[in-house]
């Protein structure tokens, strides 16, 4: 696989404000690439420089072997873009809007197919100004997909969608990947990035602070995992026994729920010994789970703050 997007030392300054400050990354062809960051971190600015909507202050960009600053016309033919809050002809219907955008591309996907993909069938004859925020957002995603471009840029594709519609968009993104498309998406939903993305970057204040696949990043920053279980016959001796299991770094005990949390750096050994220990002492444990830290935890660790929906 080769990289279809190469960004090297990208800078975009607005006067004294450094919206993007020297970031570098590569996106492999046929993968789903995510860019995570808080509001104002520089995600949209980065996307806009990649699609040629904004000039860059410095650095090098190559998208499908083209420089957006120089080969924009050619590039536009080969990519599909969903802007964060697009404005469209308010009096056209959904179908008419999709037909219009399809006519801009040489080899578009049939509007009917895109309507089907995003579950917009019952809204195809509704005018754009009658759509709810979520429906409008899905049309915006549909307009990017209809291009049949090699790379689909999606800026916050599921913001404002209900859980069902989010799933629909996720399915659509997964289907696009199956078709060999590359998807570049920005998001502030950690679960979305974790489920969809093959690789991702986290940016903060215009700088890249982490890069890799979700698993690698979590493993890189979080060596430990957490084993949780409930035991209704807990006593001091048992707790001491659990704490002495191999791999256990720390024990947490929640008395009111009879819940025990074991933080371990060797989950498989600890679990095996926990089961052996339970059998030996004749103590039954319930609701056994192994928890891994998620991107949310990673983000918190890296930026020192949580992303909240209200920020968007």
């Amino acid at each position: 696989m080769s990289a279809c997007i190469k960004v090297d030392g990208l800078k975009k300054y607005y006067g004294d404000v450094k919206a993007v400050d020297g970031i570098s990354f590569e996106v492999e062809q046929g993968t789903i690439f995510g860019m995570l960051g808080r509001n104002g971190a520089g995600k949209t600015t980065t996307i806009e420089t990649l699609i040629g909507l904004t000039d860059r202050t410095g650095g090098h960009i190559e998208v499908l072997g083209l420089d957006p600053a120089q080969d924009l016309e050619e590039l536009k033919e080969r990519i599909g873009v969903q802007l964060q809050s697009p404005v469209l002809f308010s009096h056209l219907t959904v179908k008419e809007t999709l037909d219009l955008f399809a006519s801009f591309y040489e080899n578009p996907i049939e509007p009917e197919e895109v309507i089907e993909m995003l579950g917009l069938k019952d809204k195809e004859n509704s005018s754009m100004d009658s759509l709810s925020g979520g429906q409008f957002h899905r049309v915006a995603v549909a307009l990017a997909i209809i291009s049949n471009g090699d790379i689909i840029f999606l800026d916050e594709p599921t913001t404002g969608l209900d859980p069902q519609a989010r799933r629909k968009v996720w399915d659509t993104i997964a289907r696009l990947k199956e078709k060999g498309k590359t998807i570049f998406l920005t998001t502030h939903f950690m679960d979305e990035a974790e489920i969809l993305c093959d690789s991702l970057v986290i940016i903060d204040s215009g700088k890249l602070i982490a890069e890799g696949s979700p698993e690698d990043l979590i493993n890189q920053y979080f060596a430990e995992q957490t084993i949780e279980f409930v035991n209704s016959n807990l006593d001091q001796g048992l707790l001491q026994g659990y704490e002495n299991l191999n791999g256990v770094l720390q024990l947490e005990h929640y008395k009111n729920k009879n819940l025990v949390k074991l933080h371990t750096d060797d989950a498989s050994t600890t679990i095996k010994e926990l089961i052996d220990f339970s059998c030996k002492t004749g103590n039954t444990i319930e609701k056994l789970q192994l928890r891994k830290p998620g991107l949310e935890d990673l983000f918190l660790k890296l930026t020192g703050s949580e992303i909240k929906d209200e920020e968007f």
Binding site: L53, V87, H91, L100, F101, S103
Partner: protein, 358 residues
């Protein structure tokens, strides 16, 4: 071409489905026609004069009666008629015709036709003069005399078709197309403000295509407005225009392009829709009053007259007047076309230099 067609149709749908815009662009010309029609569509003096005749059934007067009845309302009375018919305005003049016998005509010294009129009434005085001449000719006819000098009336203008409203109608059309062209550029400001242009600019659609589809729609609306103005003026006020329709089409096209181009040039100097709207309304108002499309240039103070000559609407209105009415204008037709074309080219060049898509 495919994207142009789709974008053009999208523009048409967007325009038609926006009831307010349709109302303003299509109903406004009708409102202008109605206002100007009611104010200025006075009939050109076809005032009917009523002539009373006594003793008209003599055969010799048959030709007189026939000729008079072509131009006047004739009412016949017998000799017992009372002068009250004159006083109460029933008739403007009363002719008491003597009984003439043709065989005795040459021998008889003279005949007297009594003409009764009310000297306090303007119509009576005018008509008595006309009637005097009329009977001199009548005498020549029955006595077989031939006059050496006769008057032949020739109008240098097609006057009967030109009244004040006819004269103003090209001005109404010129103003409508000027407004369409100038205010049409506001659509672009609105697109820019609403960021539709940004949303379209991530697609391969060229901005030239976006501009072109807007322009074509504007020219088509200009033609629809022209038809509406001409048809409503005809249906509501019976106004007809002469002149070659092809020249009219070409003139409307040139005007629509020129004023659209000026509109786009003007909005280069503003950032928001509100500011653009204000600027264009002021310019339209100035052009309307100082271009001479509604008010004769002669009535303007001397210091304002030079301004008329730098206002493109002056030349457009003048050209339309020449094309629609076949009248000689204030400027030569060639001059009008050259100036409008020059303005079109110049404003286009400057616009291309100053233009900002976003």
């Amino acid at each position: 071409m495919k994207s142009f067609k789709s974008l053009f149709l999208a523009n048409v749908k967007q325009y038609i489905r926006d009831g307010g815009t349709v109302f303003l662009t299509l109903i406004f010309p009708i409102i202008l026609v109605v206002i100007f029609g009611f104010l200025f569509n006075e009939k050109t003096s076809e005032t009917a004069f009523n002539i009373g005749i006594v003793e008209a059934d003599n055969e010799i007067y048959q030709s007189v009666v026939n000729t008079l009845s072509e131009s006047f309302n004739l009412i016949t009375y017998d000799r017992s008629v009372n002068m009250e018919v004159l006083e109460n305005g029933e008739i403007d003049i009363l002719l008491a015709l003597p009984d003439i016998d043709l065989e005795e005509f040459k021998d008889k010294e003279k005949y007297e036709i009594e003409v009764f009129y009310d000297s306090t009434k303007e119509n009576s005085v005018i008509i008595s003069g006309i009637i005097k001449n009329f009977f001199l000719e009548f005498e020549d006819t029955i006595s077989g005399k031939e006059r050496k000098i006769s008057l032949i009336e020739k109008s240098i203008k097609d006057e009967e078709k030109v009244n004040r409203f006819n004269y103003l109608l090209p001005g109404v059309l010129a103003l409508t197309i000027t407004q369409l062209g100038l205010l049409g550029s506001l659509d672009f400001l609105s697109l820019r403000e609403k960021k539709i242009i940004k949303s379209l600019s991530v697609t391969p659609l060229s901005r030239r295509m976006l501009f072109l589809s807007e322009l074509v729609l504007r020219v088509i609306i200009a033609f629809v407005q022209t038809i509406i103005i001409l048809v409503s003026a005809r249906l509501l006020f019976g106004v007809t225009t002469v002149g070659n329709p092809i020249y009219l089409i070409l003139m409307v096209l040139l005007g629509a392009l020129t004023f659209t181009s000026i509109g786009y040039l003007l909005i280069c100097f503003v950032k928001s829709f509100v500011a653009g709207n204000l600027l264009l309304q002021i310019i339209i108002l100035i052009m309307m009053f100082l271009s001479g499309i509604f008010f004769p240039i002669e009535t303007l103070p001397a210091y304002l007259k030079p301004i008329t000559k730098v206002i493109p609407l002056s030349y457009f209105g003048d050209a339309l007047r020449q094309v629609m009415l076949g009248l000689k204008g204030d400027y030569g037709m060639h001059m009008n076309i050259i100036i409008l074309s020059f303005v079109l080219v110049l404003s286009s060049i400057i616009t291309f230099r100053l233009w900002k898509w976003e």
